[in-house]
Symmetry: C2
Subunit: 134 residues, 2 copies
Amino acid sequence: MKESLLTERQKEILRYRKQGYTQQQIADIIDTSKANVCTIEKAAMENIKKAKETLEFLYTLDATHLCTIKAGSDFLEAAKEIFNEAEKIGIKVRYDTISLINRMRDSNPERFRARYIREDIIVYINEDGDIYFN
Amino acid sequence: MKESLLTERQKEILRYRKQGYTQQQIADIIDTSKANVCTIEKAAMENIKKAKETLEFLYTLDATHLCTIKAGSDFLEAAKEIFNEAEKIGIKVRYDTISLINRMRDSNPERFRARYIREDIIVYINEDGDIYFN
DNA sequence: ATAAACTTAAACACTTCTGCTTAACCCATT
DNA sequence: AATGGGTTAAGCAGAAGTGTTTAAGTTTAT
């Protein structure tokens, strides 16, 4: 059993990239094609995404569904809704409006367009008032 | 490409477990053997561990090696060493002694025995003074 | 418009993971 | 000593991931 999702090859390439090498330069160093470097880098990033989503799932295991933000809402509305729903079930949200919106955006930047939400977002809350998005 | 490391089967079992069911009860519900439930649960936990280690690697990509804590040290010594080494390279550690020790223990509980460290721990620091362990 | 950097797709051999069964085992409680 | 909860190991078929190549396609900057 490997200890990380990333293979040695993938880590190697991420390290070189971090150092600023281009895919072509890396291809020369490790003696393969740049297409291959690209593929491996892409696989690495997919693995990183998977890892994040796996841990997200763990959070939602602890948490309960709070509400679902409908596509098309703007995020101030969304934040308001979250605070309301949390109040209904008697839990105090651990974030102020600004941090909440930041967390929302960080959790899945592609789902935002300016201040609008493009896809439904499922919102979870745990006993401590931590909020998670899916 | 799956979006999470965990399969549906694995998530299903983690959910039931969270609700307090025994492996036997789950086996009955999903119509399989308890040995199988055990195996799947174990696989799920290994996947979660992998996910954590994958993200740990990302942190260490940003960070530089600070020092290695030798097996056998106690953790007050370890904390002192970390502060010293960080000072040498002119970075202020973002944690006080207590939080640092907590983070150290949380990062890999099996490596601790009372206040002693059982295996070498590689310590990384980034520009912001965040500390990571391996 | 040219070149450099990067992405994509199809195909391939190989390796690893997944869920499952069976059968045995450990460790508390009773 | 029996019961209930949990773990382990070997083995298997099917699914999914890995690194490669080749060849064609974008993007981006000069």
